[in-house]
Each structure stands twice: as C-alpha cells, then as structure tokens.
Amino acid sequence: MTYQVYEFDLNGLSLEQYAKLRIFVQTLGYNSYPSQLSVLHIKHPLFFIDFPGYGFPTAKISFYPQTVPEKVNEYLEMLNGQLAFGGVSMNEKSSYVIKVGELFKALNGKRVSQGLSEIDSPLIASKLGILFALKTNGYVNFKGEIIDLNDNQLIALQEILDQHFNAEMSVELRQLIASMEHFIKSAEAASSETTVVSEKKGLFNKFKGLFKSKLHQESHA
C-alpha cells in the first residue's frame, strides 16, 4: 500500500512551541501508543501521524491512499497554521465522525415517520452545506462520505436539522456518531483491502515557507 507522506520540520521549536504543537496533534485523532510518554502515533480515518519526543528533527504525517487531495490540503494547511503560530484551540478539535449517507438515511427515516416527504440526497447536501457554512462560519462538505465535527458544529447540525428539515435528530445523531477509535479501525480494515495509489497533485508546492516538509511516498507492509 502506498501512502502520501509529509515530513515536517521540528528543528528550532522552543519547548513551549513543541508542547503546543504536540497538544494540537493529539486533538486530531486517537493515540494508539497511549503508554508511551514521548512518542505519539495518532490515528485518524484519513491519516496517521508519528510525532516524536522533544529534540527530534522531524515528525511525519501519512495519508491513506484513498484520501482525496482536498482533505490532504486541508490538514496540511491546519498543521502549517499551527507551526506558524504555535497556538492551539482545544474547542476546534474534531471529535465526532458521521457517515453522510447514514445521516441522510436517518434524516429521511425521521421525516417519513412524522408523515413528511423524503428529500433527495443532493438537495440535503446542498442545503446543509449552505446552512452550515452560514451558521458556523465554517465549510463542511456534505457531498463527501464522512464529516468530522467538533462539539459546537454538532450542536449546529442538530439545530439546522430541526429548523430547516423539521426533524429533531438528537437521538439519531447520538447513534450516528462513531468514536474516533472505532471509525479508525473500520477505515483501516477497509483500506487494507485497497491497492489504490493516490497522485501527488503537486500539493507540496502549496506549503513552501513555514511548513518545511518534504513529500515522498512510502510503502507499508
């Protein structure tokens, strides 16, 4: 399996900067080496991060082959921002993963149970995309397979579904949100069966400057 791997340069970071970056990285996913104090191996549905102890020169983010360039771009930009400013907002962390198809199915199920009509998926995606962006001042793509939301975004989603789709979905949303760990295991199981190799698409060119990384591809057994 071929991963897209980006290394980022930790040289020159103060201990405080390193600590902040480490905290941020921890918010991105589930640490599969919880017993090790100095090394983080953070797992996410789209990537994993190997984050070493203070003093090591580089950390590494490896995107699974099926990760679309837009998502690679998004997370690299996020890391780039952290390297540049060293600040971390814990409220921004993504905590909940929802499969979009299941969300729409649950929404229509709820509507039908109330005697309302079903809504086609493209329309739900368009409406949610706009409403969500305007309500939260952040763009989430409801046309993809999954969304990952933080606490505030999840509340916003619930309010939008209630107000604009006439579906009170708090119970359903609780059932739909997967724990990060569970979702990662599912994603890993799925990705282990694939042999898709992603193209680089020149993304590295976007990260010249503050983000001192290099792109290469690695094969993992």
Partner: protein
C-alpha cells in the same frame, strides 16, 4: 349580487414578455415558488441580512409603482386574485386576510411550519403604504392568513433602477445564423394561441379561490422582477459571505429543474397537450419543439432552438429572457455568463423529461419518481450557459449535453 372576484387586466405581449401594468409577468408553479422561497430563507444565518425582509419588500415597490401608474386599490385586489395569489380582503380597520392563498396553501417546505406569506405582506404594504406583519398563517394551521397593519409608514426604495430594455429584433424560428436545419410539424404559433386561450387566471367561480390549478400544479402569474430581486440579492449575499460560486448557484438552478419536472411534465401529460401538440410529434425531439412553443407563451422570453443531437446535445437561445432583462434592471452588467439560473435548470429539466425519463409514457410525477429517477445523478445531463443578457450578450444561450 356579489361583485366578480376580478376583471381581466390588459396584458401586453412584447418581445416574449407579458406586461401587465407595464411590469413583466411570468407563469410559475407552486413547486418553483416553494423551492425558491426556501432557497432565499437559507440565508437567515447571515449577519445583517434578513431574507424575510427581502421576500416581503421585493414586491412592495412594484405595487407602489402600479399605484403610480393609476391602479386603484380595487384593481390591485382584483389583480391579486387574477394572478393566482388567492383572495385578499379587509376584515376591519387594521386587519386583512387571505382565506385562500397561494403562499399559505400551495407551498410545501422542508422546515418547521412558519409564517410564509411574505409576498402578501409586501403586497399589502405597497397597497396601503403602511408597515404590515403577518399574524397568522395557514402553514401554521390557521384557517386563514391574517395580516395586521401598523400606523408606521412603509418606506422601501425601488430597486428597478435601470430602464426595461428589450431586444427588438428576434429572429424567426429556425432562421438565424448557426441554427441547425430542422424538419418538424410542430406549429408554434398555433400552440401559443392555444395556451393563451386557456383560462390561466385565478378561479372566480364558486367557490372563489383566486388560485390557478392547472396541469397538476398551482400556477401564479407572478412578477418577474420579484423573482429576480429575491434570487439575485440572495445569490450575491451568499457570494459576499464567501460561499463558493457553484454552491451559491446550485439551489437556484435546482429550483428551475424542479419547475420543469412539475410544470413541463404536467403540461406534457395534460389532455390539452395530447389534443393539440402530441398528434404532430413523430419523436422525442418534436416533443422538445412542442414544449419550447408552450414556454414561449409563459412570458419567459422567446426561446429559439439552435441545435438538437438526439440524446446528446440540446442548445437553445432565449431572447429577452426575463432573468437577463430583469438582472439588467437591478444591476450593472456582470462578467459571469452563467447567471440565468431558472433558464439553466428548466432547460436541463426539459431535456431530462425526454432523454433521461420518457414523459411520453405518462409516468406519475411523484416526489419519489423525482428523487429516484428524474434527479438521480446517474444518466444525468449537464447544463452550461454560454451567453447571457446579464453579461451584455444579445441573448441567453443554454447548452445541455452529456
């Protein structure tokens, strides 16, 4: 004996536009009106932007303009019914009601039921020069929509700041440079005459409803400028808020697509179609020509088919499209060619009715059919606008292809 609900206003047809009282009117169905209103209301989270106010105040200056042109209050009430908005009447000094109304009865929404008669609220404001609020709505379960008039004056600036400029020279059907040679027996002038002879006005026989049920939908003979104001102001509000272009346009184009499914589909299943048009159709492409002829009676502009490659490509020009002409009455010229959202969606929908599903088989035009077949991404066509009156071109031009 009661007075009739309305008399017939004078309708002037010029360059594909239907003018009543000097203002462009277009036929649109309850599905389009519902979808468009829903799209506009999606901007409610935008700071310093009130979609409810936009939906209300987009009609107020039009009514004030009609009054300037000599309309009496009685004429405006009659025209409200004639155009299919319902029955609007005064209850007491400060209350009005619509026991029957297009926006209160015929619209379906996805969201929680809420007061929805923004149009009628704005209509009354224009009629009375006072601020009006809707205090009860049939959408929320009331028997009638009720409106309360305040003592505060209503001051809304007119938004038609540029003159109505129509293209005087519209080529005859199939006789313009770049047009494919067609052989069809579809007689467009006869079809237009037949459509114009249909009783497409608010029902005034008992029980008087002031609604226009036709072709399986409920029609309105609406203000074109109202549509343009609410659509384009919302579009630009979305863009100014940072929404991507494609997302900002999608809902409005979809509104046209839904309009085609319900209204065009309903027309092509109707007894009138099968009596007047279908006998002259040899194939699906003739059905396209036939429906284009019908559209040319709706006030949307003059549609001229440029090219048909069966099941592959459909190109149509629209002279004096109400969206293009209307855009230029409100805004300066734009650089963007893909600006006639209704035209794009409706043209795509027309193609889907013939080449994606087969309307000739008279399928039930249910919501389920729309979701699972008509709007299913599989086997869909795409639409692009290559020319736009809004961008300074002579006509709008839509290319639907696979």
């Amino acid at each position: 004996m009661d007075k009739p609900l309305h008399s017939t206003p004078q309708i002037v047809t010029v360059g594909g536009q239907r003018l009543i009282g000097g203002l462009s009117r277009v036929y649109h169905c309850n599905h389009y009106n519902a979808y468009l209103q829903m799209a506009v209301l999606m901007t409610e989270y935008l700071p310093q932007h009130s979609p409810q106010q936009l939906l209300t105040e987009a009609v107020t200056p039009l009514i004030q303009e009609l009054r300037k042109r000599g309309y009496s209050q009685q004429q405006l009430l009659e025209e409200y019914s004639y155009c299919g908005f319902g029955v609007l009447r005064q209850i007491d000094a400060i209350h009005w009601e619509t026991p029957s109304s297009h926006y209160g009865q015929s619209l379906t929404f996805h969201g929680k039921p809420q007061k929805s008669c923004f149009f009628t609220t704005g209509y009354l404001q224009g009629l009375l020069d006072r601020q009006v609020v809707e205090v009860a709505c049939q959408v929320e379960g009331s028997e009638s929509d009720r409106f309360q008039v305040s003592e505060l004056p209503c001051i809304v600036n007119p938004y038609l700041v540029y003159p109505l400029e129509l293209t005087p020279e519209i080529p005859e059907r199939f006789s313009f440079s770049g047009c494919q040679e067609f052989t069809t027996q579809i007689d467009e002038p006869s079809i237009i005459a037949a459509v114009n002879s249909l009783p497409l006005y608010g029902k005034k026989e008992a029980p008087e409803t002031g609604l226009i049920p036709a072709f399986g939908v409920v029609l309105t003979h609406h203000f074109a400028d109202y549509y343009n104001q609410i659509s384009y102001q919302t579009y630009w509000a979305l863009r100014n808020a940072g929404m991507p272009e494609e997302d900002s346009k999608e809902m409005f184009i979809q509104a046209g697509h839904i309009c085609a499914f319900n209204t065009f589909g309903g027309i092509m299943k109707s007894p009138e179609w099968h009596a007047i048009v279908a006998p002259h159709c040899r194939n699906r492409e003739d059905w396209l020509h036939g429906m284009i002829a019908v559209i040319n009676a709706l006030g949307w502009g003059i549609f001229r088919v440029e090219r048909i490659v069966p099941e592959k490509e459909f190109i149509v020009r629209v002279y004096n499209s109400y969206e293009g002409i209307g855009y230029r009455r409100i805004f300066l010229k734009t650089e963007d060619k893909n600006m006639s959202f209704l035209g794009m969606g409706a043209t795509l929908g027309l193609v889907h009715l013939l080449w994606k599903v087969d309307i000739r088989e008279r399928p039930d035009l249910t919501h389920d059919f729309y979701v699972k077949q008509f709007n299913n991404p599989q086997n869909s066509y795409t639409v692009e606008q290559s020319h736009a009156i809004a961008a300074g071109d002579e006509y709008d031009r839509f290319i639907v292809s696979k």
